[in-house]
Symmetry: C2
Subunit: 137 residues, 2 copies
Amino acid sequence: MNAEALLKSHGLRKTAGRLAVLALFAKREKALSHSELQEGVTENVDRVTLYRILESFEQNGILHKVPDDQVSVKYALCDHDHEVGEAHSDNHAHFKCRVCGDTICLDDSEIPTMQVPEGYSVEGSLLLISGLCSKCA
Amino acid sequence: MNAEALLKSHGLRKTAGRLAVLALFAKREKALSHSELQEGVTENVDRVTLYRILESFEQNGILHKVPDDQVSVKYALCDHDHEVGEAHSDNHAHFKCRVCGDTICLDDSEIPTMQVPEGYSVEGSLLLISGLCSKCA
DNA sequence: TTTGATTTTGCAACATTGTTGCGTTTTTGT
DNA sequence: ACAAAAACGCAACAATGTTGCAAAATCAAA
């Protein structure tokens, strides 16, 4: 589906900014950050407008958010059953409650190995489950 | 291990700020954000100092980062094999290369179901694999 | 216990990212 | 071409994160 038809099918008006964003995604086959889009887009799109374009695309299922590891993080105490100096693994999942926002470690849960494309190698992984905790259920 | 011994065992000096941070983690059994720590800590700790305390704790394996879903995100085109209006699922993992920073969708990979504590319910999940892509290997 | 090297802190200044309100412009269907 | 609705651009602001540097606190050794 071309860009114009895509917009029309979602009842979104055809504007220079939106077309430029879609064109950039068509050219680069990967996830792009807001700043990458801001720089890469040919049109001069206002920063706020770009946020709103992305928002509208996301609401219409044209784009989806991809988590980044440079995240606005929380911190948790490491499990200190091991000796000092021993290799420390944080290869476990975390759970965040949608309502209260509390985040806990699922210490017993090894993150399962995932299949990656040929030539790729895995160094770490990050798994966040979201839902309701027992307090907020 | 108590807070003082913990600091000593990592060659970190005992300061009011560090003890206050450890005390807060001991009290609240969950992951805490920078702002939650800033507010919760009894001592008056400078904002920048708190960043540095967390940094030193992380480097020494005392704390680990926990991803948050309110992340500084990237965007990727949704897979549009489905019809418009059809339910759209983004329940797949993503891969981010440590070197070039490129992030791609692992479209074929369903995120496996994880065990959560009694009384908890799962609504969504987010899995980011990091490593080297074929270009940077 | 005083001293001196080193670590840690606090402050100021700045960069980036994301949000809101509002008046203006553009798009679209009629 | 017109009017309603949608989208835009700008200004202002808030939150988050970073850097440099001088002052203060810590720790170990004399």
